[in-house]
């Protein structure tokens, strides 16, 4: 614990020296610009409440050979490209169009050659993330290359063992081998966290409710309510593992610092679940429209160094829409029944060949 604390402090000093952590992050301001005054709850702490969005065009990891910040010309280009995309996908289609090609439409990734749905459903955000007045090239701010550090040999071994276990089952054998988000269990990507990160697709929205001794963060997708206790008290025993972990917060000046352990290893952050994952988050109300969210990943059994980043959460001038995930989750049953159907077809084909 002492080693981790010292490491974290050394890291903070080093990052500040490099200009990668803003003074705002290190010592949240009472106010920043204009006539805005930091709102406070009746107990005197900064008021973090409201609806917030972490949608951003800034990637999680930094592209190679890119510095920590973008030029404003880069920002104009990136944001213009996003606006152009939306305009493009909003254009009318040919009403006489025919079906897409047999064998797939060439789409990759999760689309798996069959595409998805109209682009107007996509809401990655329309702006680059700004940290302390400068446009970020990646949400990861440390290490200095803006990328997730290498895995430790122990983590590589653990990942190999996990994959070997998974290979004992077919990809569509039963619901338990399907991703947590697909099953409406928790999160989509790492929306719910911790760390709470944008998914790059849509619904990166949060409602924060605050009392003197609790902070509730409701992630819109998939309606995950995370409760952070503020103060000090007994932590959960090590063997009790919860979705989103066991979170405790305390105020350091005007910054709410939250430490989370006991994260369920099936959340497998970054595909590397570990019982030793500790996430430290910092919430700062830096101006009227922004809660600056910073996170640090501390897991010496998984990563070769401590790492982390920042996500400016912007005020959402809108309501969240209840993400009642299970009610309409036809997809999971479609996937499983599709696999069973294909197996029957294959079996009949083999029977016919005999």
């Amino acid at each position: 614990m002492l080693r981790n604390t010292v490491s974290f402090l050394v890291l903070c000093v080093a990052l500040q020296a490099l200009g990668l952590v803003s003074p705002v992050a290190a010592q949240a301001p009472a106010s920043t610009s204009g006539d805005w005054v930091l709102p406070r709850t009746p107990d005197g702490h900064p008021d973090l409440q409201g609806n917030w969005s972490s949608a951003t065009l800034t990637p999680f990891q930094r592209p190679p050979d890119q510095g920590p910040f973008l030029s404003w010309e880069d920002v104009e280009r990136i944001e213009g490209r996003a606006a152009g995309y939306l305009e493009r996908v909003s254009q009318p289609s040919d009403p006489d169009r025919v079906a897409p090609p047999v064998g797939g439409d060439g789409s990759r990734g999760a689309a798996g050659g069959v595409g998805g749905y109209n682009g107007i459903y996509i809401d990655r955000g329309d702006g680059v993330a700004i940290l302390d007045g400068r446009p970020m090239s990646s949400l990861i701010t440390h290490p200095t290359d803006g990328r997730i550090p290498d895995l430790t040999p122990e983590a590589r071994e653990r990942r190999s063992a996990y994959r070997a276990t998974r290979r004992e089952f077919g990809t569509y054998d039963h619901p338990e081998v399907r991703p947590l988000g697909e099953r409406c269990i928790v999160s989509f990507g790492t929306n719910a966290g911790p760390p709470m990160l944008p998914n790059g697709f849509y619904n990166n929205n949060y409602t924060i409710v605050q009392t003197a001794d609790h902070l509730l963060i409701m992630a819109e997708m998939v309606h995950d309510a995370r409760i952070i206790r503020i103060g000090d008290g007994p932590r959960l025993p090590d063997h009790v593992r919860q979705w989103m972990g066991d979170s405790w917060g305390h105020w350091e000046g005007d910054v709410l610092v939250v430490e989370t352990t006991n994260i369920h290893t099936l959340q497998r952050f970054g595909g590397n679940g570990s019982e030793n994952l500790k996430v430290i988050e910092r919430f700062s109300r830096v101006n009227e429209d922004t809660v600056l969210y910073q996170f640090t990943i501390d897991d010496p059994t998984t990563y070769t160094e401590i790492w982390g980043g920042a996500v400016p959460m912007k005020a959402l001038d809108d309501k969240l829409y209840e993400y009642a995930c299970h009610e309409g989750n036809y997809a999971l049953s479609n996937i499983l029944s599709g696999a069973r159907y294909q197996e029957r077809v294959e079996a009949q084909s083999l029977d016919g060949a005999r």
């Binding site: 079906a99 897409p100 090609p101 107007i120 829409y321 599709g338």
Partner: protein
């Protein structure tokens, strides 16, 4: 309305449709749910709209080649984004005619497909653009027309 299920032979000429390809994103793996060897084109009227998460589903009644009526379910994205862009479920009233191209579910016993491109009968998308994006029109600001309310 007509149902036109166009498979291998006709689909060869569908390269132009790629222009309307959509991002590879979803709450789940689309490639696991839909059959890349079963492309489909549907033209029909809305008989039900499930404005639900994790995905919206549009139920379309179509007329098969043999003259029978069939109801197909078409998967769209999460309704949350559309809601925020000003497209409410009552912008798509029962009886509205839609054209859909996509791929049928891998379970061919199910009349279900993904809506990789869903338009009105004249080819229009639900609406043009959204707030603050620089797109030509803002979906919140216009009213009265189908899909733009």
């Amino acid at each position: 309305m007509k149902l036109r299920m166009i498979h291998a032979t006709l689909a060869a000429g569908a390269v132009a449709v790629l222009l309307y390809s959509v991002p590879a994103v979803a709450h789940h793996a689309f490639g696991a749910e839909f059959d890349a060897d079963a492309p489909i084109r549907l033209e029909g009227t809305i008989v039900r709209l499930e404005w639900v998460n994790p995905h919206s589903w549009i139920h379309l009644e179509v007329t098969a080649d043999d003259g029978s009526q069939q109801v197909w379910m078409v998967e769209g994205g999460t309704p949350n984004v559309l809601q925020r862009r000003g497209l409410r479920r009552d912008c798509l009233p029962i009886g509205t005619v839609l054209i859909v191209d996509g791929y049928q579910a891998k379970d061919h016993s199910l009349p279900r497909a993904n809506g990789r491109d869903v338009t009105f009968a004249d080819g229009r998308k639900f609406f043009l653009g959204s707030s603050g994006t620089g797109a030509p029109e803002d979906g919140r600001d216009v009213g009265g027309d189908l899909g733009r309310c």
